[in-house]
Amino acid sequence: MVEPLAGQRIPTVIADEVHIVYRVNGAKSGKGSATAALSRIVKRGRREGEERGVRKVHAVRGVSFVAHRGEAVGLIGSNGSGKSTLLRAIAGLLPPESGKVYTDGQPSLLGVNAALMNDLTGERNVTLGGLAMGMSREQIKERYQEIVDFSGINEKGDFITLPMRTYSSGMQARLRFSIAAAKDHDVLMIDEALATGDAKFRGRSEERIRELREHAGTVFLVSHSNKSIRDTCDRVLWLERGELRLDGPTEEVMREYEKFSGK
């Protein structure tokens, strides 16, 4: 367990009654036909407060917690319990419906998948991904070799100059992780990024995540691997159906969670 410095616990992330609602267009009734869409619009006039043809999914319901500097917080829960959604809200990427998230500095999500383009070479993707994360051209130039070496893309030949779509899915995942992990963050959030690539690469990436953790003030980790949660985190938030079910020291919460999930 990480002891807070000088006995004083400094909050870095405060979530205050956060609710997040997704709106899905055209999913009101099961039917996707044009007549169904039309009847939705017509019917809607009578019902108050609901937008036409829009279905609301209440993904996170009133979650509150305070995370402190030096803490590594794990998020657990079954699929669809709102873990990733909550991470996005903390990062300020998904605006909450109500409630507020306060943070110290800019939390960042570890991941650049969305910025990369499969039709471009690995080389250009390193630059594009780096710029998308807010690195400067000089920083990228400085780290370029490090990123490529870390990904191990060039171990079997000069693949970094080929378009990313020609890579195997494992190689793609390795390059993505290498780019994403090239930057240091204040508040770092990792969404199941650990389990990519082969055993050799996994060892390397776990090592890198430990390094990032040391530099970051606070770490959030979403994972379905109870082992990696136990290895990394000293506090765990357990979400179920969007509600915070349990919040406490890793061992306590994990025991309850394992009882719940029947392991």
Partner: protein, 298 residues
């Protein structure tokens, strides 16, 4: 959780946040700060637009050659229909009409595709918006920039067409630069406006092609407005000619085509061109910024 008693006990979340200087995550920065952040991301904007452009034809055998071949084919189709079949070039000789038509098509396409990509700039890139931090205005501006680069390829074709019909490069060709700069400002503003609208109402992507086509036919892309509206009151022609699409097309034609003289331009043409650019660019930017914290909501 058994936390040790601390002096922070009993504070509300907002008070606690204030005490330690935490800020609301994902809050909208002030306009000046927003501009500064955007400027900080200029390399990303450039790289993103170039990457989009390059990935467009990366699977085709001819590759980047399509950047030039596509506008060339476009020009050929319009020439066949409007030049040969419909004879829309009334009041103009072939030497003027063909370059007139091709210039119009390319310049209008620049605005049209800026709007169309603008509509989908946020709604089509939700993955990116929900994964990374950057001023969201980067996306629509980047797409407008991609269209500008696309237009520069088209200009190569345009130069060939214009020279082929007897207008050679001269001093007036330098006007191309200010015209493109003004039109780019105007297009970026439009892209920003439609990016915000399209983020709220994705249905616009289905609607806009019809709006844009109407605009195209009303702006005199394939006919001369003064000639076609000769029997209508003057103010009708004036309004059509002062619309931004027509203004930028006319200025480009004036710059490139030798026999397309100043008599074809409406009054105060440069002031109107500049006014549209500033008005739409600034207005669009502020309008887009006002919803900054809401982009990416599901």
């Amino acid at each position: 959780m058994t936390a040790p008693p601390s002096p922070d006990e009993g504070l509300t979340a907002a008070q606690l946040a204030a005490k330690y200087g935490l800020a609301v995550s994902g809050a909208r920065p002030a306009l000046r700060e927003y501009v500064r952040q955007l400027w900080g991301r200029r390399h990303f904007i450039m790289a993103f637009s170039r990457a989009k452009l390059a990935s467009q034809y990366s699977q085709a055998k001819l590759g980047q050659l399509w950047q030039v071949a596509t506008p060339l084919l476009n020009a050929a189709v319009y020439f066949m229909i409007f030049g040969l079949l419909l004879n829309a070039g009334r009041g103009m000789s072939k030497e003027v009409y063909i370059p007139f038509l091709v210039t119009g098509v390319f310049v209008f396409t620049f605005t049209q595709s800026s709007v169309m990509t603008g509509v989908r700039a946020i709604s089509g890139n939700l993955g990116l918006v929900r994964a990374l931090h950057f001023p969201r205005a980067s996306l629509p501006i980047s797409f407008a920039l991609q269209q500008l680069q696309q237009l520069l390829y088209s200009m190569l074709v345009l130069f060939l067409v214009v020279i082929g019909f007897g207008s050679y490069p001269d001093a007036s060709w330098t006007l191309i630069v200010p015209v493109l700069a003004l039109q780019f400002c105007f297009n970026s503003g439009l892209a920003l406006i439609f990016a915000r609208a399209g983020a709220k109402t994705p249905d616009l992507a289905q609607l806009m092609p019809f709006v844009m086509r109407t605009w195209m036919y009303a702006s005199g892309v394939m006919f001369s407005i003064p000639v076609f509206l000769a029997d209508k009151p003057q103010w009708v022609a004036n309004i059509l000619q002062w619309n931004p699409a027509a203004i930028y097309m006319d200025l480009m034609r004036f710059a490139l085509i030798e026999e397309y003289g100043a008599e074809n331009l409406p009054a105060h043409v440069w002031a109107v061109a500049g006014g549209w650019a500033v008005l739409v660019a600034v207005g669009g930017f502020v309008y887009f910024w006002q919803a900054e914290e809401r982009y990416g909501r599901g």
